[in-house]
Symmetry: C3
């Protein structure tokens, strides 16, 4: 829908941060499998994960991690905390940080996942823009996170370009 | 995406409340067909409707009914008030009561209904979590309510389990 | 899902306003192609565009144009400002004006557009009800705007009827 003035950014130029949201991983009770899985998926596209943080399922901790990474990363992928459990608050934390939401990412991830499992309907993940950074919530399971990232990744470079004001109508 | 620690709850263990939102039914000008239709659908899954209330299309009346049923029910299904008429305010009342929204339910109901009628796009129904209760808005027509319930029912027992904190990552 | 008491309104009875949101068109640096494209699409359905305004990508300017047209139009179609660029704020302006959102319109436009281009996921367009007026955000590209209007137009007359309170359950 938009044409590019300066050429679309490539994945290798996109600095990605990953935020693992999990009480158990944060406390060291469980090895983090989601972070490495997302990192591998990003690297397969040619991108690099500049930073990976593990935080507990707390709105404040998640929001602070997102804000810390915003200045340094073009893209932040969270994994975990998007479900319906009492401790799942990643969407709420993300909404506190973004200025503008991008509803299409969550919609597309749920619609595509729904073809795989009826439980996908429960996922509450959101996406949005914080300054010049695109934030996307992915599910907590390594397989779900990688699948959902795959459903939306084709639009990420163009979105990053737009967010940085590098493209015009 | 999640595995169950204690076994998934079964429909017969889920206490369901039904809130019929309709000025005409509340005033007794019209027999309520939506409530019995939803009750029958729940019972066909093996569930039980512990409570059925009829309220007018008023934000306060709807919200109060939802709050009354929250402590007693695992699941509340509303029927009516999700359209675009001036009196349709069920989504607004539901948003006042839930702490966290579950956007996938409304998205899936609209997407699936859209294959049946283009008017499905007008439906504004939401779903969300209030304490330990799952609330889902269904349309007002008995057929539409039962159809939409069918589109999302497969995820309800798992969602109820998650909301009650009975499952973990 | 609803039956009509007085007969569904026809497109020729719907007064439509078009708001073109574009800094470049507003400053006269670029000819407006989106407005004429949307006007032509509305006229092909038998509708009439009573008013067309061009405003810059500013929340206040967009919101004021929407409010000006609300009293005069049954339907307002915006084109432009729904993307992820720093200046894209049409959804935010629309949310300031509408009392109740209609999430189905944006969902359907994105889902249908996604079959054409993966970039459709970035579109942030919303729709909603302001008084007796239906407002729908369309993308900025003439082709995208006409395509998206086509995806949702079948529900517009019924929605306009409902919003004006001309139909009942």
């Amino acid at each position: 829908l938009l044409f590019c003035e300066e050429g679309v950014v490539e994945w290798r130029e996109i600095s990605t941060g990953v935020v693992v949201v999990s009480d158990r991983c944060f406390r060291g009770e469980r090895a983090d499998a989601g972070g490495p899985a997302v990192r591998k998926a990003v690297e397969e596209y040619g991108g690099t994960v500049a930073r990976l943080e593990i935080v507990p399922d707390e709105v404040r901790a998640i929001a602070e991690a997102l804000k810390r990474l915003c200045g340094r990363c073009d893209l932040i992928l969270t994994t975990g905390g998007t479900g319906a459990s009492p401790r799942d608050v990643t969407p709420e934390a993300t909404r506190e940080v973004v200025e503008r939401e991008l509803p299409g990412f969550g919609e597309a991830m749920r619609a595509r996942s729904l073809a795989i499992t009826p439980h996908a309907i429960i996922s509450r993940g959101v996406a949005g823009i914080a300054g010049e950074t695109l934030i996307i919530n992915l599910p907590g399971s390594p397989r779900g996170a990688v699948e959902c990232f795959g459903f939306v990744s084709a639009a990420v470079p163009h979105a990053v370009d737009l967010i940085k004001g590098k493209q015009v109508e």
